[in-house]
């Protein structure tokens, strides 16, 4: 694989928030380090209170770390406005000026990003079509639904054609169709050479989209790596689906432990521990007059990896 340039590097990030005058501050991030390379899609995972949103706020200079360093495009994040021109950001559950229309809001964003009026207009039209809001351009934002707000949030993040797109829970509040569209947009961004860093709770989306994932729990990184590396090559079991359903005594007679299977309507689902056993069971079942409908090696999915890592490091946290 081609060695890609480092777009974002986080080194030893630590952050605490005060909880009251007399109370001890709550540690939200502890010595967090990771990096994102050019043209990657990186998923940022963690339960509520893991510190995902705090990290994303620090990346966007909405919060400041107690210790640690964030380097964007090779320069520290304090470089400010010039760096931010190269970043698109969508906050979690984005809020907008309700008295503006979607088009007016994008015009304001274009002005703040230093875009010309003509560029803002053409890019807004293109993006509103892409996020499915072309019909709502002149509608006041106060009349937008939650899903529409999310789409407008995505449009404003992409308006100035940023190199790095940071999205905080981009799928939340979207219906299945909307989620599919957002997945498509993220894939298009990668195809256009952009880098995407996003947090999500929806692990199936992360698994389907990301090159790499970073798992966070209680402010600490608990796993990082390519999705296929985390999932691993190890096969958990081999799932056989056969028909018709054989009674338990017939299974015992064929040398198949009945507790490894269960009936699902007219089908019998069996879990063979390895390929040798699966081959032996298939031969026995065919001899017994059954039809083998499928034989699938089952691997761990991201959700199982996530639960394993999070479970091993304790209960969920309190603030994100």
């Amino acid at each position: 694989m081609k060695d890609r340039g480092r777009i974002l590097a986080v080194e030893g990030l630590t952050k605490s928030y005060p909880t009251g005058f007399w109370r001890k501050p709550v540690r939200v991030l502890s010595d967090l380090s990771f990096e994102v390379r050019e043209n990657e899609i990186v998923g940022f995972l963690g339960p509520n209170g893991a510190g995902k949103t705090t990290t994303i706020k620090i990346l966007n200079r909405l919060a400041f770390p107690d210790a640690g360093e964030v380097t964007l495009f090779g320069g520290q994040v304090r470089d400010g406005a010039d760096v931010r021109r190269r970043i698109g950001f969508m906050p979690e559950q984005p809020y907008f000026y309700e008295y503006l229309t979607g088009g007016e809001f994008l015009r304001l964003c274009g002005q703040l990003c230093g875009m010309s009026r003509a560029d803002t207009e053409s890019r807004s039209s293109e993006l509103l079509v892409r996020v499915g809001l072309s019909g709502a351009r002149d509608t006041a934002i106060r009349k937008y639904s939650k899903g529409m707000m999310q789409r407008l949030g995505l449009a404003q993040a992409l308006l100035h054609d940023p190199e790095l797109v940071i999205l905080d829970e981009p799928m939340s509040g979207l219906d299945p169709m909307g989620r599919m569209e957002v997945r498509g947009i993220i894939r298009d961004l990668k195809a256009a050479g952009k880098t995407v860093f996003f947090s999500s709770h929806i692990l199936s989306d992360v698994e389907a989209l990301c090159d790499r994932v970073i798992m966070l729990h209680k402010g600490r990184k608990v796993a990082e790596g390519r999705v296929e590396e985390l999932i691993g090559a190890e096969t958990l079991y081999i799932e056989l689906v056969v028909s018709p359903v054989l009674p338990a005594d017939r299974l015992v007679a064929e040398g198949i432990p009945p507790e490894t299977g269960y009936a699902q309507g007219d089908l019998l689902v069996l879990r063979a521990p390895n390929s040798g056993e699966a081959n032996r069971w298939m031969a026995s079942l065919l001899r017994a007059g059954c039809t083998v409908l499928s034989c699938v090696p089952m691997k761990k999915n991201l959700e199982e990896i996530f639960m394993e890592r999070v479970g091993s490091s304790g209960a969920t946290g309190a603030a994100s």
Partner: protein, 258 residues
């Protein structure tokens, strides 16, 4: 930089001008100023003076209400509604945000003060027993406007680090104290203690002297005819507001948004 400040100012202006509470206050202010037409009939002596006197006081009081009400929410509304997340994630520096917000609100206050002054001028002009074109109404209103801009800067300073209620209390306290700083200086100078004298001098220069913008009496008694007095007050406003805004920017520069 200027383009971003003007964009934020234009958006703030649009936000405040669509605020229904502002319209309610303005409508009530215009009603009270209009009523001075009839109030003058009840007074003895120079009827037109009553119109200018009560009218300018009304502009002052309602202007302060608007400035404090809008100023205390200037930053806190953006933080509470989380719209600031999107704004500050753009290539916008935090001081540009503060300057833009203050400028936008100052434009709104300019329009509302101008509307109130115009109504008062017309009432004064059309008064049936000795009405006249009193240009001084606009000069005194300009003074009131400058005071409102300074109060807006103070309110925005407080709204960078405290709640709207506390911001309102602090701003109103400075409004009252700001009209008494001359007395503070005079009283201090009469003291025999050096520490008290120096302390009162220090407070005199530290606290805003809002009497620098007060020409209501001069207008009411017909003693103010020139715009030249505006120069000194404008200079004081620029210097004091610049200090307050710089302090706001410093406090806001490292603020965490939860």
């Amino acid at each position: 930089m200027l383009r971003r400040i003007f964009s934020i100012a234009a958006n703030t202006f649009r936000e405040t001008i669509r605020n229904k509470i502002l319209y309610a206050i303005l409508a009530f202010a215009l009603f009270v100023i209009g009523m001075t037409f009839f109030l003058a009939d009840l007074s003895v002596g120079d009827f037109a003076r009553i119109i200018a006197d009560v009218g300018l006081a009304s502009i002052h009081v309602f202007g302060v209400i608007m400035a404090v009400f809008l100023g205390i929410n200037l930053v806190s509304n953006e933080v509470d509604r989380k719209t600031i997340f999107i704004l500050l994630s753009k290539p916008v520096r935090r001081y540009e945000f503060i300057f833009g917000k203050t400028l936008g609100l100052s434009v709104t206050l300019l329009l509302t003060t101008l509307a109130m002054a115009t109504v008062l001028f017309l009432v004064h002009l059309s008064y049936r027993y000795g009405g006249r074109a009193e240009v001084g109404i606009f000069i005194a209103s300009a003074g009131i406007y400058m005071e409102l801009v300074l109060l807006t800067c103070l309110a925005s300073l407080f709204s960078t680090f405290t709640t709207p209620v506390l911001s309102a209390i602090f701003t109103l306290s400075l409004f009252f104290v700001g009209h008494l700083t001359n007395y503070l200086y005079v009283l201090g100078e009469q003291s025999k203690g050096t520490a008290v004298r120096w302390g009162s001098r220090f407070l005199f220069y530290l606290l805003p002297n809002l009497e620098n913008f007060n020409w209501k009496n001069e207008v009411a008694y017909g003693g103010l005819k020139s715009f030249s007095i505006l120069g000194w007050a404008a200079g004081y406003l620029v210097a004091y507001a610049a200090c307050v805004l710089c302090l706001s920017c410093l406090l806001f520069a490292r603020k965490d948004f939860k």
